[in-house]
C-alpha cells in the first residue's frame, strides 16, 4: 500500500469516525450522569432528517444544523421526562425513541417531499463543504508531512474539527469543573449529591440535554456533510456502535476518540476494499462490511477487559435514607 492510499484510507477513517465520536461523547455525558441511553441511534436519525429537510427548504445548512439539534433535543427531553421525572425504565424509553425516529422520519419525509421517504439531494449552501486549511496547496510538495497535512488534516468539514475539539472540551468539562464533578458524582452515587444539597434531577436533565445536542450534531453531520440528504435508516446502527465504543473507552473522553477511530478505520477499510485477495482465498465484501458490527458484538460481550460502568447507571433516583 503506498502512502497516498494509506492517507486516503485514514482520511475516510476520520470522516467516518466523526459521527461515531459525537454520538459516543453524547452517550458519555448521559451515562456518566447515570442515564443509560440506547436512543442515540434514534436521536441521530431524527436530527439527520430534520437537518436535511430544513437545509433543503431554507437553503442554509446552518439552519439545518439547528433544526437537527432541536429535534434531537426534543427526543432527549422525552427520554429525560420518562426516565428521570417519571422514573421509567431507561432501556425501554430508549427503544421507544429508536422506533419513533425510524418511523416518523420516513413518514414525514414521504409526506413533505414525496420521494420515497428521503429528502431531495442537498447542493451548494445546503451542505457543509470541506475546509481547505491554509497552505495545504503550497505544502503539498514537502515530503511526507506535506501530503499528511493536505490529505489527512486539511479538507474536512467544520463539523469534523468541531467533533475533535469536543474531546478535550469534554475532558476539561468533566474533570476540571464543578459541573463535571457533580455530573460524575450523580452517576456514581446520587444520594451523595442529594445529601450535599445539589439537585439530582437538574444535573441529570443537563446531562441528557448535552447528549441531545451532541447527537443532533452527529445526525446533521451524516445528512449534510458525510452525505447529501437524508435516506431511510441512514444511521445504520451507528448509535449502537457508538455505545460499544463507549464501553470500549470505559466512559472516558480520550479513550472514546481512539475507540471511535478504530471503528471508523474498519468502516473505511470496508468501503475502500470491496474484496480482499489473500492468496487463494477471497474475502468477500460482505464480510468486510460486517467487521465493525462483529467488533461491536465482541466488545459488548466483554472480551476486551473489564469495563465498570457508572455505578448508579440505569436506575432512577428515589430519595431514601
Amino acid at each position: 500500500m503506498d502512502l497516498i492510499t494509506l492517507l486516503q484510507v485514514l482520511d475516510s477513517t476520520v470522516r467516518l469516525a466523526t459521527p461515531l465520536l459525537l454520538a459516543c461523547l453524547a452517550g458519555l455525558f448521559s451515562e456518566r450522569a447515570g442515564i443509560f441511553d440506547i436512543g442515540l441511534e434514534g436521536k441521530m436519525l431524527m436530527a439527520a432528517f430534520f437537518s436535511a429537510a430544513v437545509a433543503f427548504v431554507s437553503g442554509s445548512v446552518w439552519l439545518g444544523l439547528l433544526a437537527g439539534i432541536g429535534s434531537s433535543l426534543v427526543l432527549s427531553l422525552l427520554h429525560g421526562v420518562a426516565s428521570i421525572t417519571f422514573r421509567g425504565n431507561q432501556l425501554i424509553s430508549g427503544v421507544a425513541i429508536n422506533f419513533l425516529a425510524a418511523g416518523l422520519t420516513v413518514l414525514i419525509a414521504q409526506s413533505w417531499f414525496k420521494e420515497g421517504g428521503r429528502t431531495p439531494s442537498l447542493i451548494g449552501a445546503g451542505r457543509f463543504n470541506s475546509l481547505e486549511l491554509p497552505f495545504a496547496e503550497t505544502l503539498q510538495g514537502v515530503p511526507l508531512l506535506g501530503p499528511i497535512y493536505a490529505e489527512l488534516i486539511s479538507g474536512h468539514t467544520i463539523l469534523v474539527y468541531l467533533a475533535l475539539l469536543c474531546v478535550p472540551a469534554s475532558w476539561w468539562l468533566l474533570y476540571r469543573t464543578r459541573f463535571g464533578l457533580r455530573l460524575r458524582a450523580v452517576g456514581e452515587n446520587p444520594a451523595a449529591v442529594d445529601a450535599a444539597g445539589v439537585s439530582v434531577i437538574g444535573l441529570r436533565f443537563a446531562a441528557v440535554a448535552i447528549c441531545g445536542v451532541l447527537c443532533g450534531i452527529a445526525g446533521a453531520y451524516l445528512a449534510t456533510a458525510l452525505q447529501a440528504g437524508f435516506v431511510k435508516d441512514m444511521t445504520a446502527g451507528r448509535g449502537f456502535i457508538a455505545l460499544a465504543a463507549l464501553i470500549f473507552a470505559k466512559w472516558r473522553p480520550w479513550h472514546a476518540l481512539w475507540a471511535t477511530l478504530l471503528f471508523g478505520f474498519l468502516q473505511a477499510v470496508a468501503l475502500r476494499y470491496q474484496s480482499i485477495e489473500l492468496g487463494q482465498i477471497t474475502i468477500p465484501v460482505q464480510l468486510m462490511d460486517v467487521l465493525p458490527y462483529i467488533l461491536t458484538v465482541i466488545i459488548l460481550a466483554g472480551f476486551v477487559g473489564k469495563a465498570v460502568p457508572p455505578k448508579a447507571g440505569g436506575e432512577a433516583y428515589v430519595k431514601e435514607r
Binding site: T177, L181, A185, N189, V193, A195
Partner: protein, 512 residues
C-alpha cells in the same frame, strides 16, 4: 437547669406521618450547645425520621424548629447545611471512585472551576486534621479506605461546611471496637471545642459511655429526656421497649455431644484470585454454639457461604463424620439441606428471602422440591406457614403479605422459622439480629439457644461482639481469612477479643 443557655436545637411539637403511620408524634426536644446528646430507641421508633426532618430530607407536617433560638425553615439539605447542621448517615453518602478531597468539596465548591476549591479544601483539611486529630489522606480514593476512614471523611465533609451541630446516625454499626473508641475520642474532642453532637443509636453501652444527655423514643413519641449520669442501661431499655428486657441471654451451660461439623484446612479463592480463607480448622459439637467473631470482611461471610453451599472451596469438611462435597455436583445449597445443614444467610434480603414473594412462599424456599408431584398444595402450605408464623411471633401474622412488607426483625423470624423448623443437625446463622429491634433480638436469641438445648450444633457469625459473647459457648476469632484463636466467653474480655479481631496474635497480646 435554672440558667439554661439558648438551646442549639429546639423542636416544638413536631409531627410527621407517612400515610396512616405516624412516625413522629408531637416531638419536643431541646439540645444544649456543647453537649453530646443521645437519641435512643428501637428500630422504627422514629429516630431517623426525626433527624431527616432536621436535615431537610423530609418536611414536618406540623411543629416548629428553632436553631440557636432562631425559628428555622429547613426545606432541603442545602438549608440545613446553611443553618450549620451536618449529618453523618448510617450508609455513607460518598462517591467511591472519587478522592477524599473531591468528596469533601462536592456540593460546596466555591467556584465553577475545581482547582481553587481543591487547593482550599486541602489546606482546610490539614487544619481540621490538626485541630481534631482527624487525619485522612486527601488523595486516597474512597473505595480504598476502610469504613472507619470513610466515616471520618463524612465528619470532615460536615466540618468543612462549617457545621457546628453534627448528627450521627448509628455511627458504630460498621466499626470495630477500636475504631469505635477512636470515634468517641473524636466526638469528645469536637464537643470540647464547642460543637453540638446528636448521636442516634440503639446501643445502650454507647449512650452510657459518651453522651451527656439522652432522649428515648418509642413508637414515634419522645418518652423521656434524662441526664446520662442519672440513669442506667436497664432503666433506658425499659423506657425504650416499655417493659423489662434481658440484655444477657439466659442459658444453661452447654452439654456438648459428638462432633457434628469438622472443618480442616478450608481454603477459598474469590473471583479476583485472592485467597479469602487461608486454611480454616474448626469443629462444632452437638449442643453447642460456636461463635465466629471478627470485623466484617475477614472471611466470615465466605466461611458461611462455603458451608451453606453457595461457594466452592478446597479442603475437608465432615458432617457427622461423613465427607461433604465442596466442588462437585453435590456442593450446592440443595444438597447441604438434604444433609441436614440449615442456613440463615447474613443478608436475608438478598439471600434469605425473595422480597416480592409472600411470607408463606418464603417459608418453603429451599425445601419446595420436597413435596410429591408437580403441584403444590397451596392451602396446606399456607396453613402450615400460618402456624409457623404464630410460633415465631411474626407480626403481622399474615402469611399472604409480601416479605418486603415486614420489618427487619419479622423478616428474620420468617427465615429462622423456615430453617429451624426443618430440625437440622447443624444451623449456620449469619448476623441473626442485624437491623432487628430489641424485642425481636431477645426472641431470636432464645430460639437459637433452644435449638442448642435440643442437641443441635450451631455456627454463629456476627459482627456484634456483644451478641457473640452472650450467645456462644466457644468463640473463634477470624482475621484476614484465618482463625486467630479460640476463647471461652467466661474466660475472656472485649479487649482481648478486640485485639484478636485486629489481628494481634496471642503472643503479642500476652506480652503487651
Amino acid at each position: 437547669m435554672t440558667d439554661t443557655p439558648i438551646p442549639a436545637i429546639e423542636l416544638r411539637r413536631v409531627s410527621k406521618a407517612f400515610g396512616s403511620v405516624k412516625a413522629n408524634k408531637e416531638i419536643s426536644l431541646k439540645v444544649q450547645p456543647g453537649t453530646i446528646h443521645g437519641i435512643i430507641g428501637e428500630n422504627g421508633a422514629g429516630k431517623s425520621t426525626l433527624m431527616s426532618i432536621l436535615y431537610g430530607f423530609y418536611k414536618a407536617d406540623e411543629g416548629e424548629i428553632y436553631i440557636r433560638g432562631q425559628r428555622a425553615k429547613i426545606s432541603d439539605s442545602q438549608a440545613a447545611i446553611a443553618a450549620g447542621i451536618g449529618m453523618v448517615f448510617q450508609h455513607f453518602k460518598l462517591v467511591e471512585p472519587f478522592t477524599v478531597l473531591e468528596n469533601v468539596i462536592l456540593g460546596a465548591e466555591d467556584d465553577s472551576l475545581l482547582r481553587p476549591s481543591l487547593a482550599k479544601a486541602r489546606k482546610e483539611l490539614s487544619h481540621l486534621a490538626a485541630e481534631y486529630e482527624l487525619y485522612v489522606d486527601p488523595d486516597a480514593a474512597i473505595a480504598d479506605l476502610g469504613v472507619g476512614m470513610q466515616q471520618r471523611v463524612e465528619i470532615l465533609k460536615a466540618l468543612y461546611r462549617r457545621a457546628d451541630i453534627l448528627i450521627l446516625d448509628e455511627p458504630t454499626g460498621v466499626l470495630t471496637p477500636a475504631e469505635a473508641d477512636q470515634l468517641f475520642r473524636i466526638l469528645h474532642r469536637l464537643r470540647d471545642e464547642g460543637k453540638t453532637i446528636i448521636l442516634i443509636t440503639h446501643k445502650l453501652r454507647e449512650i452510657m459511655d459518651i453522651t451527656d444527655t439522652v432522649s428515648v423514643m418509642r413508637q414515634g413519641e419522645m418518652t423521656a429526656t434524662v441526664k446520662t449520669t442519672e440513669t442506667s442501661p436497664a432503666h433506658l431499655a425499659e423506657l425504650m421497649v416499655g417493659r423489662k428486657v434481658l440484655l444477657r441471654v439466659e442459658k444453661a451451660p452447654a452439654q456438648p455431644g459428638d462432633v457434628v461439623l469438622e472443618v480442616k484446612d478450608l481454603r477459598v479463592t474469590d473471583d479476583q484470585g485472592v485467597l479469602r480463607l487461608k486454611g480454616i480448622d474448626l469443629s462444632v459439637r452437638a449442643g453447642e454454639i460456636l461463635g465466629i467473631a471478627g470485623v466484617a470482611g475477614n472471611g466470615q461471610s465466605e466461611l458461611l457461604e462455603v458451608l451453606g453451599g453457595m461457594h466452592p472451596a478446597q479442603g475437608q469438611v465432615r458432617l457427622n463424620g461423613q465427607e461433604i462435597d465442596l466442588t462437585g455436583r453435590f456442593s450446592d445449597g440443595q444438597s447441604r439441606r438434604k444433609r441436614g445443614i440449615s442456613h440463615v444467610p447474613e443478608d436475608r434480603q438478598r439471600a434469605g428471602l425473595i422480597m416480592d414473594f409472600t411470607a408463606w412462599e418464603n417459608t418453603i424456599f429451599g425445601y419446595h422440591r420436597e413435596g410429591a408431584g408437580l403441584f403444590t398444595d397451596n392451602r396446606a402450605l399456607q396453613a402450615e406457614a400460618d402456624a409457623k408464623m404464630q410460633r415465631y411471633d411474626v407480626r403481622p401474622p399474615d402469611a399472604t403479605l409480601a416479605a418486603k412488607n415486614f420489618s427487619g426483625g419479622n423478616q428474620q423470624k420468617i427465615v429462622l422459622a423456615r430453617e429451624i423448623e426443618r430440625n437440622p443437625d447443624l444451623l449456620l446463622v449469619g448476623q441473626p439480629t442485624r437491623g432487628v429491634d430489641i424485642g425481636a433480638i431477645e426472641f431470636i436469641h432464645q430460639q437459637i439457644v433452644a435449638l442448642r438445648d435440643a442437641g443441635k450444633a450451631i455456627l454463629l457469625v456476627s459482627v456484634e461482639l456483644e451478641e457473640i459473647v452472650s450467645l456462644s459457648d466457644r468463640i473463634a476469632v477470624m482475621f484476614d481469612g484465618q482463625i486467630m484463636g479460640e476463647r471461652v466467653p467466661t474466660d475472656t474480655n472485649e479487649t482481648e477479643l478486640g485485639l484478636l479481631m485486629a489481628g494481634v496474635t496471642e503472643k503479642v497480646a500476652a506480652h503487651g
